[in-house]
Symmetry: C2
Subunit: 636 residues, 2 copies
């Protein structure tokens, strides 16, 4: 088998003839980013052939596919029967996440938004009981004895025990004089006993809420006995190296081994964060017996090992919307293995359970007549509009820009992220506010919105997002035809590298905001109402601690409405998951919401493309919808 | 760590100081038989210390526990901090089973004994359906589409899918134009979908019935769609090297690793036979979607990894009597992993689900007024007496003699087993009938009954089972104080070793029959009836193809009643399991039987010991209960 050597690490792999260089790299434990999912379209996996021959079918214009020192796309190049040495340009090798620190602001979980729950009623709950000693001639087994004790606490239902619980009983019921705490799940006509612990542990009943995003994953650890948030973590989804957006991930998953790879990457991300929130407190992961996971339909498919291919192909039929309760053990989530995992039901192929969860914290889940608008700004942007009589929803691909993806200096809203800037109109210099008041590491979503608005307001960029070439500033540099804006010079950053944004990255952000805004417009057009008819606009997303409303309006991300109509509710999917964790009653509510929603497939509306194109300006080509911005522009 | 070397194999193991020689042997992959379960009582694990020092606490009188060349019990000897070489005498090393061939007589499954079942109604059953293609705008997922198709076949119940089934759907529903066969389990208000296969496979619905005996394990492969036995196998339980009877196994299981070892040995035995019955036909084990397992309470505990310790200790409380449905996957049974395993419910600590299964093929499960007696002759002998108004049951330790255990020439009722003998009164020579009409390999249970009766009838042994020392025969030899009876000389056997039985082995058989008979007597005494009041005696057991009634009466194994009152029903536990496999209605019946039975603990009755002692003669010390034998003895 030919040996492939990767420089600069020098790692090698022996592979079969015909193996893709991308797979050879994986075997050699060398990571190569494939933001397009290995489909040959992004060109990010270019490697240089130092020696040996390969069979390349590269499509990228930068690739030179013949001879030594040719650049080829690793995803479209196969090993022949000779040894190969390939050099991976520095930028292609994936760095560990830039922002894996613990910083997440728990204040983003705003309990005041929760509807009052009649009571704490989690799926799994604990009951303490004391089981009397076995008596001669009573003819009871250990299971019988525990059942009788539990029946005296919970009533005469049937109790069904899992095999691991049955295995633990012989010794458990004889230690500590039969004092045990059982964790039960209530089912029609019966209780499932998923765990039995020695002594009384009812004072601690733990659960986790998970928002599984395309780019960012968040985990919340909750003590359900007292409704207390114990820890919160957010980090990048380890799948991003296999594609930045949903379609890229689906493309990457076109082979069984890659589908399995994506499944394990999602699990790895979630489980690492479960470990982190456990370590942050004094919890052992196996003490956690409730979990709610919300995510878009593709993320949930990948997490469960379901083939996502048909989500991408007409008529866009996923395997499942409403996932049955699955055990932690069979899903691979590292909490108590007998725990049942609740997965928020999806609405459509591109409107996932994260939206249903998010709506729980808004008036869209109440029976109001007022029409409300819910905008979840994520890599997959999702929008819901409606009231108690109708609910319409759609999804658009905004890309990961607001979460720091696809932007060289981009990062999650974590310690060291620039979240607000002020640009000097005269010099073009920038003053930054950073999360945690530390030296900046990168820029998060709210920072980008602030930057874009400021650059536009001060005239350093034009409505098309092009950097002003008529004025000079030390912050502006050029490379070829592209201009770059230095936000923070290298001597002031935590990484000793400058924080710079390019014109094409600015265009990325503008495309993201355009996708969101134009999707809102199309939805309202379909219903025949305007933004003025909207009572409340709920904006959700994990891109920062707050939303700079004025800046968001200036760039045309959100409609130009009075500030009191907006509510920024942060990671609504995570908050909704938290509510689902606390009480089963929200599950019924969420399921009804999911069933009531009508899904609009934007790709079926040719006018969406026109709307999208018109929105790729700051704030928009049609300024009449942005009167306050128009007024501001006139002032300048 | 000191190294232990075992001769003659030369295998070694590095072990911690303080490790038992028995565990060291296991690590070195050297098998040492421990019929007593490693409790130090049987002396079968004697090994000779060739070099090195050990810390021995041997109890066996044959052990010499000091110095080089000392014999020690491996189960009571610990390694010190120096290397040790131990020699394992030939007889201690376990040979592979003598009779692992495929021979089992399917005629022993006597369907004429089955009560008429109203219909074939197995737990898991197949439904064929054709799922229409996904349509744009219908908003159905793959799961929804299959559910709608299945609902049109089975009605509007809820359908719950297992994760592996959900994983298979995306491709399965798109191959073969949506033609699929689903395997369903009916549950209150819902169906569980445990498997989906492409195309129409309803013509083959496979299940296995398993009798998990202490000594012998039997597996039956059935096509439930047409009620056809496809294959049958029986073999020794691989656990026997860890103890011959239930108490020895429980003793052996006194450490978690040994409990796990016993669990894996039971699984290995069952799974090897599942593989065999599959290979015997053209079945893949994963096509099998139903399983019923019946066994005594201890065997079921060991199979499921439940600590059996408290079965042995007063007040004899097992972990469980009525095991919930468990998946094949979680139990480790190698059939379709989503299959649900039904385990026959136990009656008491020493009366297992095998008895409840066995009763299903007798009139004891009907509502007759006649009092019937059921005797299951196994290593653990179990007896039930009663009618529609009462059912009493007890268990006695008969030992494995009738299944060939503990008898040097003993074997299961398989090819090459002597099943009937005729002893010449004058010369003492023996004429044998062998299963399969081949050269004999050993002697099975029915052969031993025939031999014992013949030797007694012809005067070659006395009522105490002692070989007649006053007559000379070339078949009789002596070694020390013990006499041996050669059944077949070495030149006539398949193994070129003579088939010989010793006086102490004859005593083993007599003890076994005495345990059974005296237990029957005690039960009837408690009820206040005699054998004459019994309408039918059902004799079950896996010791042969038939029961030689006359011989059994002559040795006093069964009461001296007219032949028409007896029915030999072979492996009743296996037959009952087969019935349970065919129709769920028998499960309700079995559960009711189990609940109706009153368990008598023989150890609580001092008179049982007297009865047992009195029964250790041929046929019995009290000849008045054996009038036909008495008459025969007078004739001689």
């Amino acid at each position: 088998m030919p040996v492939v050597t990767f420089q600069p690490s020098g790692r090698t792999a022996s592979v079969d003839q015909g193996t893709e260089l991308l797979d050879a790299a994986k075997l050699a434990n060398v990571e190569i980013a494939t933001p397009c999912g290995g489909k040959g379209t992004c060109g990010n996996c270019l490697v240089r052939i130092v020696s040996g021959e390969v069979d390349s079918n590269s499509t990228d214009i930068l690739a030179e596919t013949k001879g030594k020192d040719a650049y080829v796309q690793a995803c479209r190049t196969k090993v022949l029967d000779t040894p190969v040495t390939a050099n991976i340009p520095e930028q292609v090798e994936i760095k560990e996440g830039k922002s894996t620190d613990a910083y997440v602001d728990a204040s983003l979980i705003r309990k005041e938004l929760f509807p009052k729950s009649s009571q704490l009623a989690p799926l799994a709950f604990k009951i303490y009981t004391e089981v009397p000693e076995p008596q001669p001639e009573d003819g009871f087994s250990d299971v019988d004895r525990l059942t009788r004790s539990l029946q005296s606490e919970c009533g005469k239902k049937e109790f069904i025990y899992s095999l691991p619980v049955i295995r633990s009983l012989a010794d458990m019921l004889r230690d500590k004089e039969g004092k045990v705490t059982a964790t039960l799940v209530s089912q029609p006509g019966q209780y499932q006993v998923i765990n039995v612990e020695p002594g009384d542990s009812t004072s601690r009943q733990l659960g986790i809420a998970v928002d599984l995003g395309t780019t960012t994953v968040s985990v919340l650890l909750v003590d359900q006995s007292i409704d207390k948030i114990m820890a919160i973590r957010a980090d990048y989804n380890a799948q991003i190296k296999c594609g930045l957006d949903i379609i890229s991930r689906i493309n990457y998953a076109n082979r069984a081994d890659r589908m399995e790879e994506l499944r394990l990457l999602a699990l790895k991300t979630i489980n690492r964060m479960i470990k982190q929130v456990s370590d942050d407190t004094t919890v052992r992961p196996e003490e956690i017996s409730n979990a709610v996971i919300s995510g878009n339909t593709t993320m949930i498919h990948l997490l469960l090992g379901l083939n996502p291919e048909y989500i991408r192909l007409e008529p866009y039929t996923p395997t499942i919307f409403e996932v049955p309760y699955l055990s932690a053990n069979e899903t691979g989530i590292d909490i108590h293995p007998g725990s049942l995992i609740y997965i928020s039901p999806a609405v459509g192929s591109y409107v996932g359970g994260d939206i249903g969860a998010g709506l729980l914290c808004t008036d869209l889940s109440t029976d109001t007549d007022q029409v409300n608008l819910f905008i979840d700004i994520g890599t997959n942007g999702e929008i819901v509009v409606g009231n108690s009589e109708f609910l319409m929803t759609c999804a658009c691909s905004a890309g990961p820009a607001f979460e720091g993806g696809g932007i060289d200096a981009g990062m999650r809203a974590a310690h060291g992220a620039i979240e607000r800037v002020e640009v000097d109109k005269a010099t073009g210099s920038v003053t930054c506010s950073t999360i945690g008041d530390v030296s900046p590491t990168g820029i998060c979503g709210t920072g980008m919105i602030s930057l874009l608005a400021n650059l536009f307001q001060t005239g350093w960029i034009d409505p098309a997002g092009k950097i002003n070439r008529t004025k000079k500033s030390p912050n502006i540099t050029f490379s070829g035809r592209q201009a770059f804006y230095t936000i923070v010079p290298e001597e002031e950053t935590s990484t000793s590298k400058p924080i710079v944004i390019s014109e094409s990255e600015l265009a990325n952000i503008i495309r993201a905001k355009a996708a969101i805004y134009s999707a809102c417009c199309l939805m309202l057009d379909q219903i025949g109402i305007g933004f003025d008819d909207i009572a409340n606009v709920y904006i959700a997303g994990g891109f920062g601690r707050y939303l700079d409303l004025q800046a968001s309006i200036i760039i045309g991300l959100i409609p130009d409405l009075p500030p009191e109509r907006f509510q920024y509710i942060g990671n609504a999917s995570l908050m909704g998951s938290y509510m689902l964790l606390l009480s089963n009653e929200f599950k019924t509510k969420q399921l009804n919401l999911a069933k009531r929603m009508t899904y609009i497939d934007l790709s079926k509306y040719p006018e969406y493309m026109d709307q999208y194109t018109a929105a790729q300006f700051l704030p928009h080509t049609d300024l009449s919808n942005f009167p306050t911005v128009q007024a501001m522009m006139k002032e300048n």
